[in-house]
Symmetry: C2
Subunit: 245 residues, 2 copies
């Protein structure tokens, strides 16, 4: 994650002073699928193979990735294309397949404590330093597998999914944690990846909730100190049926 | 701004309970420029004429708007197209013109107190209720002209700029205030609109700062209780040169 120093003028209670600030960097990459240019993405310059692999899976362009190579600012993904990709602009976030997301199948169940563990893992130094990043984490079999940061909320999901795909982690045994809001575009990405549980620090929208309901995702929002809200499929959170676990 | 009630399951310190939540709604609109379909946008369902007009101006597709009509989920903008629109995916935010944004010309200067007034005006009930909205405000001649909210950060900029354009407010006498971060895509929109001062509660990126520098925008970030940081063109903030105003 590239950060730069930049001198700004700070005003504090009537006094102007020079400050030396940490600024997050923004890069542009072009994504090629089977050597055809698909789109340009503004993103942070790490985990680029994961970004490409994850974008293709999360957009349901393909079910499997054959190869990903990165050359300068170009990301090349080779994959057998299965979905028909219909580009749509998402609410404050990238293009995605406008088709119906896939249904998630998973028997995974977790204790409430795991939700807080996922939520805590989202935090990072770079986020605290710059205040300008989003992050997603992927838990596999109950353990933190990866954390990815990016200036783009959607990119963080693509990156952690790409990590799982490139490392052949079964996504139905994963949980994703996100700093960002969960409109339908974000939930749809996770559904296409086949991850059954989303933990977000932030809110969802009506269509985000509807997408989670229809695709079988357990959508947990507002995961904060000591509390969270389950909007859909609470059966995966142990104790939510009043049985006490 | 459409909100819906939704029943969720809340977990608080070991106890599960049902709650009735306010959820923000997400809609999809198709933008036509001179009767040609340009793109689909996920947005909140208010200020749609403003959204269409503002998008066309902020993307530098045209310099003037002739007419905007909204029919169901379709926004039709008539305008003499001047720029060549090259779509690019923005960091967690819509498509924008990849061309160089225009240079802003304005003699506007403001006192530090005005920055806090702009920042205070950003807050809204819907934002507090749902935690899932962005907002932008437009000040014209020092007074609040409009506040627009949307699930999409970029849409809020388009909407307030659209308001100014449809009401013929001279944009060089305006200030824009935003809840959201300011990467190059956001700053570029404001530059294309010709607004000289951006006040954001949040951070920028390296390219966001570079775009503000090059286009002549005064970029003020982290506008919070009693403080803010000026990254570029501080000459528009009275007293920032140490003269004491």
């Amino acid at each position: 994650m590239r950060l730069e120093r930049y001198t700004g003028t700070m005003y504090t209670n009537g006094v102007f002073s020079d400050i030396d600030d940490q600024i997050v960097c923004e890069d542009t990459f072009t994504l090629y699928v089977n050597n055809t240019q698909l789109l340009k993405m503004v993103a942070s310059d790490d985990h680029l193979r994961e970004l490409g692999a994850g974008f293709v899976i999360c957009s349901h362009i393909a079910d499997h990735i054959q190869n990903v190579t990165v050359c300068d600012d170009r990301i090349y993904v080779d994959a057998e294309v299965t979905g028909d990709f219909q580009e749509i602009l998402e609410s404050s976030g990238g293009a995605a397949n406008h088709g119906t997301p896939r249904r998630v199948r998973s028997d995974q169940r977790v204790k409430p404590e795991k939700i807080f563990e996922v939520r805590s893992a989202i935090q990072s130094d770079a986020w605290l330093k710059t205040g300008a990043l989003h992050a997603s984490v992927l838990f596999y079999n109950g353990e933190l597998a990866i954390r990815c940061e990016d200036i783009g909320r959607h990119n963080t999901v693509d990156k952690v999914v790409g990590h799982a795909v490139l490392n052949k982690l079964p996504l139905s045994d994963c949980i994703i944690g996100c700093t960002g809001r969960q409109p339908s575009g974000m939930v749809g990405k996770v559904a296409n990846a086949g991850i059954p549980i989303i933990v977000s620090r932030a809110a969802s929208t009506d269509r985000g909730i509807a997408t989670a309901e229809e695709t079988g995702i357990t959508l947990v929002c507002f995961a904060r100190e000591g509390r969270f809200t389950i909007y859909t499929h609470p059966e995966r959170i142990i104790g939510s049926d009043g049985s006490g676990g």
